[in-house]
Symmetry: C2
Subunit: 188 residues, 2 copies
DNA sequence: CGAAAATTTGACATGACTCAACTGGAGTGG
DNA sequence: CCACTCCAGTTGAGTCATGTCAAATTTTCG
C-alpha cells in the first residue's frame, strides 16, 4: 500500500523517504465491506479517504426520497465530503462502499498537524484539489450541453467496466436521469 | 489595493510584511473597460485575476451559438480558467468585463516561482481552491433539486443587487434557463 | 425455491424549449 | 433633437424531452 501511495504521490510532488514515512504513518488502514458507510448524513466527515482498492459512491437524498449520486470513487482517488471535513459541519452526503473497499484514511487534526511538518503536503493537496475542481467543471460542461441519451452513450464509452460493476439505476442517478427513462433510452 | 489584498489574504493565512510585499510586487495592476475580454476562447489563459473592483462573467458558447454563463466574478474573487492556466492549454471559456473592472493579475510562471519563495502561498491557494470547489458543489446540488422558477427566486433573494447590474438574459443563462422562459416565469 | 430488488414497459403529464412576432427603450448619427 | 436602428424583454403557439406512476417481468441472492 505504501508502494501504491508513493507512486500516486509522485505524480504530483517529490517526497523523500522521511516525508513519505511520516505521511504514511499518519494514515490508518481501514477496510469497508460492501454496503458499509464511510460517511453518513448528519454526521461530521472526519476523514479524507484514499482508496487503495474497491469502489464507493457519494450521494444524497432529496425531498422526495430519491438518491442522487454525486461521485463514484475508485482506486487512487481521494473521497471525502470536503465541506464537512473542512468546517466540521454535518455532512449532507453519504459515502458508501459499493464493493469491499480498502482505504487509507487520515483525520483532519492529524492532517492539519502534518501540514506544518511536511511542507510539500500543502502543494500535494493544492494540486489534487485543483484537479478535482477541473474534473467537476468538465463534468458540468458536458452535462450542460448533452442530452440524457448522449450522456449515457458517453459514459458507456468512457467507462465500459463500470457498467459491469454498478447497477443501472445508480448509473442513471449519476447521469441525472430517472431509471425508467434510462431503461427506455437503452431500448432505443 | 495592497490594503485590500492584504485584508483578503488574512482571511486565509498570515503573511508577514516581507511576504506580502513580495507577493504584491509580483502582481500587475490591469484594468479592463466594460465589454473587454480578460480571456478569449482558443487562447491560453495565462493569468489568475484578483478582482479589486468591477464585475466579470465567465462563459462559453455551445454548438447552437448560445452563451452559457458559468460564473460571475466580483470584488475579492479570483477568476481564471483553471484548466487552461494549469496546463497551458487553449481556453474553452471567455472571461469578459461586464463593467469597468480593476484586477491584480499574476502570470503562471511568476506564480510558480513564487510558490518556491513564499511557502505559505501554497496554503493560501490550497484553501482558496477548496472554497471554490465547495462553492461549485453547492451550486450543483441546488440546481439538481430546484426547478427553474425556484432557482430564479433563490437567486433574486441571495443576490438582489445583481438584478440591477446584470441584464436579465445573462441571469437566465447563469441559471440555465432560456431568456423567454425566464420572462414567462417572472410574469407568473 | 421464494422474496426482495432491479429492470422494463406503457400511458399519461408537464416543465422547459423553439421559433416567430411584437413592444419599448436606449443609443447613434445626421 | 428627431428619426432610425438595435437590442433586451415579452408574449403566445406548438413541440419535445424527460418525468411520474403503476404494473409486469426479470434477476439476484439468501
Amino acid at each position: 500500500m505504501k508502494q501504491k501511495l508513493s507512486k500516486y504521490i509522485s505524480r504530483y510532488v517529490d517526497f523523500n523517504t522521511q516525508e513519505l514515512d511520516l505521511f504514511f504513518n499518519s494514515l490508518e488502514v481501514k477496510k469497508y465491506k460492501k454496503k458499509e458507510y464511510l460517511v453518513q448524513e448528519g454526521k461530521v466527515c472526519k476523514y479524507k479517504y484514499f482508496i487503495i482498492d474497491g469502489l464507493t459512491r457519494t450521494y444524497n437524498i432529496d425531498q422526495k426520497g430519491n438518491e442522487k449520486i454525486i461521485q463514484f470513487g475508485i482506486e487512487n482517488w481521494w473521497v471525502t465530503n470536503i465541506e464537512s471535513f473542512k468546517n466540521n459541519s454535518k455532512s449532507n452526503h453519504y459515502i458508501q462502499a459499493l464493493e469491499d473497499t480498502t482505504t487509507l484514511r487520515i483525520k483532519k487534526e492529524e492532517l492539519d498537524m502534518l501540514y506544518q511538518k511536511i511542507n510539500k503536503l500543502e502543494r500535494l493537496f493544492r494540486l489534487i484539489t485543483e484537479n478535482w475542481l477541473i474534473a467537476i467543471q468538465r463534468r458540468n460542461e458536458f452535462y450542460l450541453k448533452l442530452t440524457s441519451k448522449e450522456r449515457y452513450e458517453m459514459f458507456v464509452k468512457a467507462f465500459p467496466n463500470f457498467i459491469q460493476r454498478v447497477p443501472q439505476y445508480m448509473i442513471a442517478s449519476y447521469l441525472e436521469i430517472t431509471p425508467e427513462y434510462l431503461s427506455a433510452l437503452r431500448a432505443n
